[in-house]
């Protein structure tokens, strides 16, 4: 009897979650009258605006990942190695982006870096792109930090570092050849999460007025009929793909690096 209720609960949750998705999928296939077709998808993929905004967001996601890794990995490494007492502070700071609404952050940016400020980043497209990159890095910080922190907890950081140093390695070499390869799996899972976040982000891109995928999604939602459903399905697939990749990478690493 207990079993039954457990399954019933799961069933209700599944219906609640999947039914709208199924509806959306079904709708996205109905562009051609009277039969199912992929016309909506073809229309989306053929839209130059889609191509431009999606390309822009993919590039931004890639840059955000590189930027985030370059900031987070050395920082977490250093805090774990030399300033372990700062770890609670780090935890707190990296949680802030989850607590502070993006709209507040972006207004802060605009106030600080507008054209009449000491660092007029919003004055040029490139400067605004950089500002957007920083915003994305902040948004993904909680995930990136936790992924890297867990990765570094799994290795004997201090001894590996000292072993490398005694073999002549400087800090850069230690980070690049010893630490990074050993937390690569963790970094990758942080990277996929970052990718998913950046692809779907709306507030930053819209308020900084950059041609990203998020604003395009919203625009398409207001101006087209079937394409938004197709876009939503594609975005879901992309996000799930990222999550599957995280799983795959984690699983893969278990095969190559079993504990003794």
């Amino acid at each position: 009897m207990k079993r039954f209720w457990a399954w019933a609960a799961i069933g209700v949750a599944a219906v609640y979650f999947f039914l709208p998705l199924l509806g959306m999928l079904e709708f996205s296939l109905k562009m051609r009258r009277g039969e199912y077709s992929l016309d909506a998808y073809a229309s989306v993929l053929g839209d130059p605006q889609f191509q431009a905004s999606f390309g822009y967001s993919v590039i931004m996601a890639g840059l955000t990942i590189v930027f985030g890794v370059l900031i987070v990995v050395p920082t977490v490494f250093w805090v774990r190695l030399k300033l372990p007492r700062l770890r609670p502070v780090m935890e707190f700071v990296t949680l802030l982006p989850l607590v502070i609404p993006p709209i507040v952050i972006v207004f802060g940016y605009v106030r600080l870096f507008n054209t009449s400020s000491w660092l007029p980043l919003t004055g040029s497209a490139l400067g605004t792109d950089f500002l957007l990159l920083c915003g994305y890095a902040v948004l993904s910080l909680p995930y990136m930090y936790r992924a890297v922190d867990t990765g570094l907890a799994a290795i004997d950081l201090r001894t590996l570092t000292e072993a490398a140093q005694s073999l002549g390695a400087g800090w850069i070499t230690v980070l690049a050849r010893v630490i990074l390869p050993n937390v690569l799996v963790a970094v990758l899972s942080g990277a996929f999460l970052t990718f998913a976040i950046v692809i779907g982000e709306y507030v930053f891109a819209a308020l900084l007025d950059r041609p990203a995928f998020g604003p395009y999604l919203v625009w398409a939602g207001g101006n087209k009929a079937y394409e938004p459903a197709a876009l939503a399905v594609m975005t879901f697939a992309l996000t799930w793909g990222c999550m599957a990749l995280i799983q795959a990478v984690t699983r893969f690493s278990k095969h190559t690096r079993m504990p003794r």
Binding site: I155, D156, T159, L160, E162, A163, A164, Q165, S166, L167, G168, A169, G170, T173, R177, V178, P181, N182, L184, T256, R257, M258, P259, R260
Partner: protein
């Protein structure tokens, strides 16, 4: 000046004074052990030599060059850790070649040197394996090869054997010593296992509370301990109370039996003096300056040696007898006489 010279080293963590006026000179090619109980500062001394800790005072010189403030990666010192610390993402060969690659050697030369090192540690076929595919003993040998590959000036080992099981520990002891002799590399070996220190080293440094209590060859440290701590920590000791009768002449009595110690005694007549005696200096048969009546309380047959606890009027004495197949050992409860020579008694400060 010795090849590796530690002079007046001090190390404090806040108010915690961990290493105190530590002096040690090690000749080129010498194998020296730091021996002492947990927390006595062995690792701290080693880490200062490696450059992972900066001494609060004092100087470290290698081959006449002061290295006290050089960074670890500029010292050219090899280090082996208790936890192996192999790079898990690299193969055995890549691990061994790590230091050579950083030194910028051409890859052909690296391959040759790596092959040599793997030969030296007896694992020539294992180059393409990953660390997790090796046993603990094999991993530690790879760690040794990795530390030695860049031809360091000094090799440091911090309890490299204590994570291994007993049998491998003993065989690896001999292997490490063998490799060390072959390469003639100046070595400091940290351990809290006296057997390890005594059996491997040219000299042993017995440490206590951050100080070097005694430095000497294993034979010397064992047979002529300078302090009570050294006598107690290195090997087993029996304590005997003696009453001083003539301090200048070294005359004392043990349970009423007079005897003369080899040296004068720093105590007044009538004072009680504690003398120490090694288990192997006590016999049941033959002659001795002293003969104490006793009864066998416990007996352990260990193979070549028989370990005996004998109760006498003022306590228990432990002694070791050699197993002789034609002489059966005494039985528990048997009355015996403990005999020993005055020259074997160690007067402790």
């Amino acid at each position: 000046m010795a090849y590796l010279d530690l002079s007046a080293l001090e190390k404090s963590y806040g108010a915690n004074h961990v290493v105190k006026s530590f002096d040690l000179g090690i000749e080129q090619g010498e194998f020296v052990s730091l021996l002492g109980p947990s927390g006595c500062g062995k690792t701290t001394v080693l880490r200062m030599v490696a450059g992972f800790e900066t001494p609060s005072a004092g100087a470290i010189r290698i081959g006449g060059q002061e290295v006290t403030h050089l960074r670890p990666n500029q010292r050219n010192i090899g280090m082996v850790f208790q936890a192996y610390a192999l790079f898990p993402n690299l193969t055995v060969a890549q691990n061994v070649g790590f230091g050579l690659k950083i030194a910028g050697l051409p890859s052909r030369e690296i391959a040759l040197r790596v092959a040599d090192m793997l030969e030296l540690i007896g694992l020539p076929e294992m180059g393409s394996r990953y660390p997790f595919q090796l046993s603990g003993g094999q991993q530690q040998r790879v760690a040794l090869a990795r530390a030695l590959a860049p031809r360091p000036r000094v090799l440091l080992l911090d309890e490299p054997l204590s994570a291994l099981d007993a049998k491998i520990r003993v065989s690896l002891r001999a292997e490490i010593r063998d490799i060390q002799r072959k390469l003639g590399i100046t070595t400091i070996f940290v351990t809290h296992d006296q057997e390890e220190a005594l059996s491997m080293s040219d000299r042993v440094v017995v440490m206590n509370g951050g100080r070097a209590e005694q430095v000497g060859a294993p034979f010397e440290v064992y047979n002529q301990p300078k302090t009570r701590f050294v006598a107690n920590f290195v090997g087993t000791l029996n304590a005997l109370e003696a009453i001083v009768t003539d301090p200048g002449a070294g005359k004392v009595t043990i349970q009423g039996q007079p005897l003369r110690l080899p040296q004068a005694v720093q105590a007044q007549a009538g004072a009680v003096l504690t003398l120490a005696l090694r288990p192997e200096a006590v016999h049941l048969h033959g002659d001795g300056d002293i003969s104490l009546p006793a009864r066998i309380a416990e007996l352990q047959f260990m193979g070549s040696v028989i370990r005996v606890n004998a109760e006498h009027a003022m306590g228990v004495i432990k002694l070791d007898l050699f197993n002789k197949p034609d002489t059966p050992p005494p039985a528990v409860g048997e009355d015996i006489a403990l005999r020993f020579w005055a020259k074997d008694l160690i007067a402790l400060d």
